[in-house]
Amino acid sequence: MAEEPKHDQVRSRNEPFTSRTATRIWAEHPSEDNPYIAAKVFCHGYDLIELMEKRSFVDVFYLLFRGELPHRNEAQLLQSLMIALINPGPRHPAVRAAMNVGVGKTDPVHILPIATAVLGGAHRGGGEIEAAMRFLRKHQHDAPTAVAQTILQSRPSADHSTGFGEHFGGVDLMAKTIVQQLLTLPAAGEILRWGNRLAEELEPHGLGWLTTGIAAAVFADLGFHPRAGGCLYQLLGAPGLVAHGLELANKPITAMPFVSDEDYVIES
């Protein structure tokens, strides 16, 4: 280095950080004699104990993220989606990760963070949802035929960020069936219905609804922000991840396949 580079003197920016973290979600009222112990807690203004008495888990789940309790039909739609997504299934990479955690004798409390991180990926995971929600919100008033043409023209490089595509080379039948069930519900919304018309256009070409697309459509119809979509997808799939991880947690390491040396190919 011929000449010493000249840099600025390091100085604090003295940014005006807040003295207290703000939340609109949760209030904790202190006890009389210990400011660290809460005597009552409120979720968006509702007493938690009263919620326990009067409302379902799905109602309070919706309240937590949306700030208001859902209409009965909205709760029914969300609950149906939660059931549909409760387990990505034993062949999904996130569940396989959970199984590896279990059979590897990792502490069971690590199953959830490890497997949900994998379920946050951009293929068949939460990483697709925000883009899919934005895609659906943007195109919900466009002609499905034209949008289908655009998707088909971008094959095979198309990623899954629309919520529609190939699933192992063809149409995901379970996704299609789940949508048919959701469409019978009174709260099935415009975006889900539009998405289904798009899926019908795509189907003869071997493309269709992806599970992530269903989640994106229902989240969008229920008014969730696209930024929340990926996390919600992870949350809704979490029970299946943990169940499969725990199922293998007391099994020997031989309870899962270990690829033989003959089937392990190092490519040059």
């Binding site: 280095m1 011929a2 010493e4 580079p5 000249k6 840099h7 600025d8 003197q9 390091v10 100085r11 604090s12 920016r13 940014e15 807040t18 207290r20 973290t21 703000a22 939340t23 609109r24 979600i25 949760w26 209030a27 904790e28 009222h29 202190p30 400011p35 660290y36 112990i37 809460a38 409120f42 968006h44 203004g45 509702y46 007493d47 919620l51 008495e53 009067k54 409302r55 379902s56 700030g67 309790l69 009965r72 409390v109 963070p113 190939e166 192992f168 080379g169 063809g170 149409v171 039948l173 070409h205 071997g206 690829v259 040396d261 089937d263 392990y264 190919v265 190092i266 490519e267 040059s268």
Partner: protein
Amino acid sequence: MSSNPRTHITHSDAGHIARLEQKRGKIFSRTGGWFPGKGVYCHGYSMLEELVGKKSYFQILVLNATGKLIDKPLADWIEGIYGCLSWPDPRIWCNQIGALAGAARTSVVAATTMGSLAADSRSYGPYTLLAGVEFIQDALRQHQAGASAEAIVEKITAANRGKPYIVGYIRPIAKGDERLEAMEKFGKKLGFSVGPHLALAYDIEQVLLRRFDEGMNINGYMSAFLSDQGFTAAEVYQMFAGMVASGVTACYLDTYHRSPDTFLPLRCEDIDYQGAAPRRVPDAD
């Protein structure tokens, strides 16, 4: 179950199914593997005969992250900058994950890995190196096509309502970056000279200092230096995936060895509730 067989048609691509069938039960690796009794291989090298004890840990780390076996001085430089990228202050966001994890009595591995994951951020940490390297490599292409450092900065500020939002310059919390001089001295000691990316990075810094009173940060320095060493943005991101780990571990241990709940304890009133006032829960309809 539907009895209509037409509902089970997937319109699948037969070629796609055939490709999946070829991969069933097999692992294909471009990286390496362990063959018990025969050896462990990493990008064509026998790990135990050619790497362990002969190459440094950071040479092996970069080999795993990029497939490139780099020379020792460059590995030493990377080790040096790793020391700059993680320090034991729990006010830093990823480190605070470690401190909170210690307070909550997680395992040290959970704390360290989750803190590292927290640094996968658009504001700081390894993810920002993608944009840092892409910026300086694009800037050099513009420079070689005739654009001055001034013009490169102007193009960006014009697109950002006059703000010099360039990854690698400007830093949260503080202006300037004390790590640059330390690394510049170390780089000189290792025999590295200033390459074209770094030279341009310094020119851009001078423009920013003059016009906005903002300097280069460690991201800008390492993005330019590593670009001069021939790395792509993705390779740099991959090499630094665990760059904050040791500071997170340190912050974890500090709180792990103190009483639970004593790390930044919060009274109920220390949370500023700004939501709905208390209201009656309506019966489910």
